[in-house]
Structures are given as structure tokens and as C-alpha cells.
Symmetry: C2
Subunit: 142 residues, 2 copies
Amino acid sequence: MTVRAILDTKGHQIIHVGPDDKLAVAVKLLSERKIGAVMVMTDQHMDGILSERDIVRVVGERGASALDEKVEAVMTRKVISCKPSDTVAAIMEKMTSGKFRHLPVMDGDKMVGLISIGDVVKWRLREFEHEQEALRDYIATA
Amino acid sequence: MTVRAILDTKGHQIIHVGPDDKLAVAVKLLSERKIGAVMVMTDQHMDGILSERDIVRVVGERGASALDEKVEAVMTRKVISCKPSDTVAAIMEKMTSGKFRHLPVMDGDKMVGLISIGDVVKWRLREFEHEQEALRDYIATA
């Protein structure tokens, strides 16, 4: 099972802000959409990613005034991404070892979606369950 | 595999704030400890739980002034908990269906730990892998 299968079900929508937007704008967007991260983009180019954790960290360090800062001052610039052809198992390991919860999906230079650790967990568990059923059937009928 | 097994490895530490603490205090604590949620407690009594998502939501709705509010105005009061004897599989379902990422562990009236969806995923995957290995061995040697 691949990242492509998740996106085909979940959709390819990418919620984003601009690097010059204030942090408060991004916070409002996360809050309204009930999501954990937004992409930071200039036209089609990915500048970074901004998560709930980034926001809590910077507000914890600098206080409420951090909300007036630009998104680009707070976002994570070095974004790890995955490909549509990557397996769910591979990106789950990537996420747990890197301790991040969101991975943009890149098809060459083009971003085609964003998947969360919640998506990955759901699919990986489904995959395991299918394999186990197959193994149990095999044993039962052998 | 049970919740007790996770806690025996992870430890029983419970990071908490008081209901009268300002939100800014809780944000600082989450930021410093790099954690996603804290318990809200008065002495040994659990008043609620406060997560990154709660904070981002209230700051998104009310702006930076929300950081001056008391924790009890923002926390989630109705906390779902689990028992040390619960299976990892059962609490994983609880978390995914309820869409929360943290579960306090109650032994009768006493809170004995807090586990995150990250903990659960790690253990559940390990469990599946062990079962699959056992099934594969069975097939290989049958």
C-alpha cells in the first residue's frame, strides 16, 4: 500500500499560508480547520511547514507577542517529504524516527498532498489486519 | 499487551498544572518539556487535560489575550481515561474514534500515568509484528 492510495481516499487539498502572513493568521486557520499543520507556500513553491507544536514552542519561549511575528520566522524550513510511490510502512518509520506528524507528498517538483501520522496509522493498521487475515485463512485452510 | 506494559517502560511521571494557572504558564511548560498535553490537577484530583490543540484553538478564536486566561477556562473537563489492565488494541481504538492523542491511566481513583498516541502506535505495531512473525514461523514449519 502506497501514499498514493491514502491521497486517493483523503484528497489532494493543501491548506497553506504565505511566509509573510502573521503567525496569528496561521493559528486562526489551524483552529478553524481543526488541523495540526499548514504548508507555507509562495505561489507553487514550498517555503516550509508550520505545526501546532511550532506555535506552542514559540509562544512558550517569547510569549503572546510571537503571534505578531511572520510565519517565516517560526516555520520549519527543512521539510522532509515523501513520494506518492512510497509505501505506508516506510513513511511511518520516517515519521516516528523523525518525530514529526505531517509529511508533504511531492511528485517531482509539485506538491500533491499532505498526510498526517493519523492517516498513516489508520492505513498501516488496516494493512496489518489484511495480512493477518490472509495468514489466518491460509493456516485454517492448509 | 496492556497499558501497564507501556507505563513500566515509559515511566509513571505526570506533568501537570493547576486550574488557576494562566494559560501562558501551561504553554511554557509544554514548550520546555516538548510534550503535547499536561494534566490539570488540584492536589491528587484530576480537573481536566490541556493539549496543544486546545491552546491553538482558543488562541485562534480569541487572539493572544487568551494566554492570560486561566487553564480551567480552556482545558477539556470531560477526560476519557483508561486502566492499567486495558489492552493496547482497545485504547488505540478509543483514541482514533475519539480523535484525542492523550489518555490518562487511572488505577481506581489514582492517576498512575499518561500515554500518548505515539506510545500506543509504537507498541501496537510491535505487537502486530510479533504476531505476524509467529504466524509466519507456524506456516514455515507446518
